[in-house]
Structure formats: structure tokens, C-alpha cells
Symmetry: C2
């Protein structure tokens, strides 16, 4: 592989001139530029980015911490990140963390070791050994930690859940079950708060025994549905905190001989690609997945360049998408 020295020798100029031709061509005379360009082509020179990064102390790389890359929502977010990053000249390092703190820290440390310039964290954890560590540019998207000064890109999950709950309530549902995400997730807590708020406003009671925990997988949704449906006084509607669990719940419900939404309404969250195509099509909250990624990357870009983003907490819009998995409560007039 040819180096900048080879090019400079062949062009008969100094390495500085070659370097400038590449990075600040306006500082080089037209004539010299031409000569250098020719030498570059002749030698098929490609600047060694590793050397450049080393010298300039930046890697032009961001690392993305994602709990599960195979989750269809996250994979869309990542697509958004990648697209923006590419435009801004950044490469994207993938850190599939499985939600494990160890792995998060390992990947986040890449900033300290100069392997990455910034971090996008899609889970609600601070990925540093020392929670007050401010040394690395970081943006928290999707599931965001509360009460830190990390910039965030998020949904107003309380409002979104409230909207969904109101939809169920308006259909006459009074006994609503919940298939929630893991206990310590901000997203989960906010969605629960939204649900409670709607119930309260409607003069209905929230019963903690109506809440089952899942891990966002289809399987866990099915398991949780069994628990809910075998209760003495089963709910007439199930509010699921993501689409996969809703899909699992629907399938389980049908398996148990019940009709959706005839006997029981089931709602999801996220509006993944398949939500529209399950049977019945899923009523859900749609979120602009890619935009979580593009916004997070844009904000991180500012952070990495030392400019403070004017809006440190971006809220993206959501939409209630009513399909056929929800309907009037059975005994509602």
C-alpha cells in the first residue's frame, strides 16, 4: 500500500503538500494540486485512516449500545443511525449488549480508548462505571434514564399509553390487563403511568394483580396471556407494552378458543412491520423508529463537535393506529 511519502516523492512535493491537497485543497495552488492528484492516482494511494485517526485523536466512529439487534424496532432505529452517520462521515460500531451492564461498559469504554468518539445508548442505563462520568459524548434514545443530563430522544410514553388506554376505555373496557416490560425500564414505567392516568380519569381502578411481566418477546407475551386469562375475573382487554408480546398474547388467546377482539381486545405498542399483518391486525401506537436514530445521531454529532444542542430532550410524535385487535367490550351496551 502506498503511503503519503510515496505520493510526495512521485509528485516531487513535501508530504505536507500532499496532506493539504487532500484536506484543504484551497491552500494548494491549482498546478500543484494537479500534480499531486496524478501521483495519487498513479500510486492508487488511499490515506491510512488509522494513522489519520491516531494523529488527529478522533476515530470518526460512534458506538451504538443496543439491547438486542434482532428486535425489529431497534433494527430500524439502527438503520436510522447508520444513515445519518454515513452522511456525516461516521462509521457505526455495533454493541449488542443483551442489556448487560458489563457489556455496556465495555463498549462505552471504546470512547476512552479512542476507538469511538461518541455513544448512542438505546437502553435506560448509564453505561459508565462512574455514573457521574461526563467524559464521553453520549445520547440516550428510546428507553431513557430519568434524572441525568444525558441528552435524550424519546417518546412521551405517558401520553401515548394514556391515549391507547383511552381507546380501550372508550370501547367499554373496564377490566384491563397489562403485559408489561421489565420492571426497571423507564419506558415500561411511563407506559404504566399513562395507563393508570387514563383509568383514574375514567373513574376506574387499576389493579396491580392485572399486571404481568414479559421480556418483550413473543413467547413471554403468550405466557403472560395465559396468566391473565386464567384469572378468576379475567380482563376484557389486554394492554401490551410492545407488539411482539401482543402478537404472542393474540396467538395464545386464540389457542384458548377465545376470539380477538370478540371476546377480548389486545393492543400493542411500536407498530412494527408485522403488526399490520397478524390476525387480527394489531391496534398499536406507531413510532417513527428511524427518526429516533437520525435524531440521536444528529444530536451526538453536535455534542462531539462541542456545540451544545439547543434542545437536549427531543420528543418524537406518536400515533394511535386502530386496527382490528381491539373492539367493544363484550357486555358493553
Amino acid at each position: 500500500m502506498a503511503t503519503i511519502r510515496d505520493v510526495s516523492r512521485i509528485a516531487g512535493v513535501s508530504v505536507a503538500t500532499v496532506s493539504r491537497t487532500l484536506s484543504k485543497p484551497d491552500k494548494v495552488s491549482e498546478k500543484t494540486r494537479q500534480i499531486v492528484q496524478e501521483a495519487i492516482e498513479k500510486t492508487n494511494y488511499k490515506p491510512d485512516i488509522l494513522a489519520r485517526n491516531f494523529r488527529t485523536r478522533k476515530s470518526s466512529t460512534v458506538v451504538v449500545l443496543v439491547p438486542d439487534i434482532a428486535n425489529p424496532f431497534f433494527s430500524r432505529v439502527i438503520r436510522g443511525i447508520e444513515q445519518s452517520a454515513q452522511k456525516m462521515g461516521y462509521a457505526v460500531l455495533l454493541g449488542d449488549t443483551q442489556g448487560l451492564r458489563d457489556r455496556e461498559i465495555t463498549y462505552a469504554n471504546m470512547v476512552k480508548t479512542s476507538q469511538a468518539d461518541g455513544i448512542i445508548q438505546l437502553d435506560c442505563h448509564i453505561p459508565f462505571e462512574d455514573k457521574n462520568d461526563r467524559s464521553a459524548p453520549i445520547v440516550n434514545a428510546c428507553d431513557c434514564v430519568r434524572g441525568t443530563d444525558m441528552p435524550t430522544v424519546q417518546l412521551d410514553n405517558i401520553a401515548a399509553a394514556e391515549k391507547m388506554a383511552n381507546h380501550l376505555i372508550s370501547l367499554g373496557h373496564k377490566n384491563i390487563g397489562v403485559i408489561s416490560g421489565p420492571e426497571n425500564s423507564t419506558i415500561t414505567n411511563d407506559r404504566l403511568r399513562g395507563l393508570k392516568k387514563a383509568l383514574e380519569n375514567a373513574g376506574l381502578e387499576y389493579s396491580p394483580s392485572n399486571r404481568m411481566y414479559g421480556d418483550y418477546s413473543i413467547h413471554s407475551g403468550a405466557m403472560a396471556a395465559v396468566e391473565l386469562l386464567e384469572k378468576e375475573n379475567p380482563p376484557s382487554a389486554i394492554f401490551c407494552m410492545n407488539d411482539e408480546m401482543a402478537i404472542g398474547a393474540i396467538r395464545q388467546t386464540k389457542k384458548m378458543g377465545l376470539n380477538v377482539p370478540g371476546d377480548i381486545s389486545i393492543s400493542g405498542f411500536d407498530d412494527i412491520n408485522f403488526a399490520e399483518f397478524c390476525d387480527p391486525p394489531l391496534t398499536t401506537i406507531s413510532q417513527p423508529a428511524e427518526e429516533f436514530g437520525t435524531n440521536a445521531m444528529t444530536m451526538l454529532f453536535e455534542l462531539m463537535n462541542g456545540t451544545e444542542p439547543e434542545n437536549k430532550n427531543i420528543y418524537l410524535p406518536f400515533e394511535l393506529v386502530i386496527r382490528n385487535s381491539t373492539g367493544r367490550a363484550r357486555n358493553d351496551p
Copy 2:
């Protein structure tokens, strides 16, 4: 950030000794090791990987070229890659190429610029300007180019498609439609060959007019299904080359008032997570997605270390998964 010099100063040893303590501790006496470790802790020293990579001329990074990260099959493959890479001490750079040659080349060039040590290509293109370029370690997985010496990890798509076709034929289907992938994909061509082979063996005719093209999206499957079902002599079964298109086709078929599989059987390919949960559950070919990733990464690792893998073309097993989207042909006794 502390450097190796800071550590050496505090420990009262040379930088070489610090370096050795980290990389070849058995070359350093127990006593010195201890002193150095203390200094490392006191200074909270983390070796600058960028500097190390620069000096050693390797980045410990591989770049993955994927046509679409949001595709559920690919995202599982990538999960497999990430898991293996992590174990081997490699980071994974994400190159979402949208199947565009330009982007593939840009990302593949990262090896030339020392940003990556190797490439995993999940599409059936050679990602180099010069097709005969051998300078970068590369493994081709999933959709593989024919007639190159790139190592591959693939499915015997001919056999798999044949198996699926035989299943349809055994159900009495004689007029089988195809919703295929893009024309120039090896996967698509092989699956078509398998289908033809099965038809031939059964004494049935393959009619090119029964083949519609999709782009692996749900939507394109639905569009193609319309074309097939509105034919004068519509097929009684549709062989789809992936699950998403099958899901689109099922939905469209139902929309048109037909029953699946009562009126028409529909089969998929890949066995994505949702295949089991659509309605009716999809008959499909299951593939070990993660293993494409782990195998590719293992092979690439060998390549990057200069050892020739003993088996340069790995074939992974598949399985025909019969669910309810396929059934007996209508007029079959």
C-alpha cells in the same frame, strides 16, 4: 487520559515493561508486574487502542456489508456475527448497503485504509472495484456469489426449494406460482432451480409466466399475489422466496376473499420469528440464522490470521417446517 508514559514514570519502569505487563505478562517478573498494576490502577490507565492499532497495523474490527439491517433474517445473522466477534476480540462495523455497489465498495475499502481487518458480505456481489482483488480477507455469507474463491457460508438453496416444492406437489398442487426475489440473486436463482427440479421430477411443467418478482418486502409480496391471483388460470399454491413476501401474499389473498390454505396454499422461506404467528401460521424453510453469522466470523478469523480454512464452503442445514398455510389442492382427490 493517562498514557503508558505516565504509568511507566509512576511505576519507575520503562514503557516497554508496562507494555509487556499488559501484553505478555509472563515476560515480566512477579514483583514488577505488581508495581505496574498498581500504577495502572492509580492512574486509571486504559491503553489507547487507536495507537496500538496504528502501531500493530490491525484494527481488530470487521465490517459487515448487509443489504438491509432491518430485515429480520439479516439482523439475526448480524447478532451471530457480533457474538462471535466479541468473543474473538473484534468489533463489528455496520455497513448498511441497501444493495448499492457504491456503498459496498466504500465500506469494503475500510480494509485498505486500515479501519477494518476483514469483511463479511451478506449479499451476492463482490464488493471491490477490481473483481480479482484478493487483498482483503472476506467471507461471503447467505447470498453468495458463484464462481469466485471467496469462502462462503450458505444454504443448499436448491435442495431446500426442492423440498418445499415437493411438499406442495405432494399436496396435489400442479399449478404453482412463484413470488421470487430479484433476478440477479444467487439465492433466488437457486431456489428457482430447486423448484423446477421438483416440478420436472413430478412430470409437471414450469411456466415462466407464473413467476412474479418481489423485493423481499411484505408489500411486494402482496402486489405479486394480485398478479398471480388475477391470472386466467391462477395457481393453487404460491411458492414465496421469503417469509415477508409470503405474509404479504397471505394477507392479499385473504383480502380478495380467498381462504388460505383452503383455496390457495402459500409457503415462505427463512422461518422468521413471525412466521409462526401470522394467520395461518406459515409453512416455511427454517434456517439457522445466527449460525450463518458465527460461521462466517469464525472463518473470517482464520483468514485474517493467515490460516486457510479447511472447508471453504460451509453448508448449513435447513428444515421444512409445515404449518397451516399449505394444504391439499382444492380439486385434488
